[in-house]
């Protein structure tokens, strides 16, 4: 299962850059960049902090997606 996120959109709504958002949640600019690109899945703690700062829920910002293999398997089984 993959993880998509709308962090960039929420950050734009807040009007802060990656460095500023990182300072607000106790992470580095690099980590925020990795999360936005989907190259890193944050821990529960960090995801909760990000959601709190963005005034949203974790599920609003981070979305679990089924990958293509799982979808194919379900199709074959169903």
């Amino acid at each position: 299962m993959g993880l998509e996120n709308h962090l960039k959109e929420y950050r734009a709504r807040l009007g802060v850059n990656q460095q500023e958002l990182g300072s607000m949640v106790g992470a580095s600019r690099q980590t925020i960049s990795l999360i936005e690109r989907g190259d890193y899945s944050p821990s529960v703690t960090l995801a909760l902090k990000i959601a709190s700062v963005c005034k949203a829920t974790v599920e609003d910002i981070f979305i679990l997606t089924e990958d293509e293999e799982n979808k194919k398997e379900e199709k074959d089984n169903g």
Binding site: V16, E20, G26, Q30, T31, S33, I35, L46
Partner: protein
């Protein structure tokens, strides 16, 4: 939203941090130089009295390269300085036009900084290797090269050493433009410990991943191949078993350190 880095503030903090730690660092370098110099001087005096024994042990390899080692060191300095200065200028230019919101810009800048670190580390390790080799070859090189070359080579040795250390600090301070929260100095004796403490979860994850890959490469490929090769070379070319034993020892220590850490966790 200010996407450009605030150069003055970050540079001021970096200089402040460096000033705190540079004096103990320089003192340590001076003490190391004095101790190393004394060991080298008295070791050389001992070698002079026992030169034939030393060359039997070193083998034909050192006798072959002895006349050229200082010229290699001088050439190495020229190449190292050119590469380091060129990289520094490119990094500086990239840093002045850096847009932190542009991923491509940031990646390009990061890669140039990494190249700069590789160059300075290569310079540092290369000069240690060439300097050490030159020390062993000293009796033969004194016969075959002029005194001017001798002094130029020593001058090159110190230039590379000082530049490599200084550029590691310069490049690390430049990287603070991307990560200003990493307010540590490379001159701090506890630099490694403080750097890790300053890292967040994603950075620690990357460090641990890279460390494991490095451990895996060394222990599953490099050490086995080098140890076995040195065992064969030792038998065929009469360099003795010491290189094989040292390589095997490092392999064992690396494995033991890893499994001890795994057991403790």
């Amino acid at each position: 939203m200010d996407n450009k880095f605030s150069e003055n503030e970050i540079q001021k903090n970096a200089k402040k941090e460096d000033k705190k730690h540079i004096l103990p660092f320089v003192l340590l370098m001076i003490v190391s130089f004095v101790i190393g110099g004394c060991i080298g001087y008295f070791g050389f005096k001992w070698v002079n009295g026992n030169i034939d024994n030393i060359y039997e042990q070193l083998g034909e390899f050192y006798v072959l390269i002895a006349p050229y080692i200082r010229l290699v060191l001088i050439a190495f300095m020229v190449i190292y300085v050119m590469l380091q200065i060129t990289n520094y200028r490119k990094c500086k230019k990239e840093m002045m036009n850096l847009d932190l919101e542009n991923e491509e810009d940031v990646e390009k800048f990061g890669k140039k900084l990494s190249n700069g670190m590789i160059i300075s580390n290569t310079g540092f390790m290369g000069v240690i290797l060439l300097g050490g080799t030159g020390f062993y070859c000293m009796p033969k090189t004194l016969e075959n090269t002029s005194e001017i070359v001798f002094f130029i080579a020593w001058f090159c040795y110190f230039i590379i050493l000082i530049m490599a250390i200084a550029f590691q600090n310069i490049i690390f301070n430049m990287s603070k433009q991307l990560n200003p929260e990493k307010n540590v100095s490379t001159y701090d004796m506890k630099f490694q410990k403080k750097l890790i403490e300053n890292c967040d979860e994603a950075e620690k994850y990357n460090i641990y991943k890279q460390s494991y890959r490095s451990f895996s490469l060394m222990n599953h490929k490099v050490y086995p191949v080098v140890t076995f090769a040195l065992m064969i070379i030792g038998m065929l070319f009469e360099i003795g078993m010491l290189p094989f034993i040292i390589s095997a020892m490092f392999w064992i220590i690396s494995q033991a350190a890893y499994f001890t850490e795994a057991k403790n966790k």
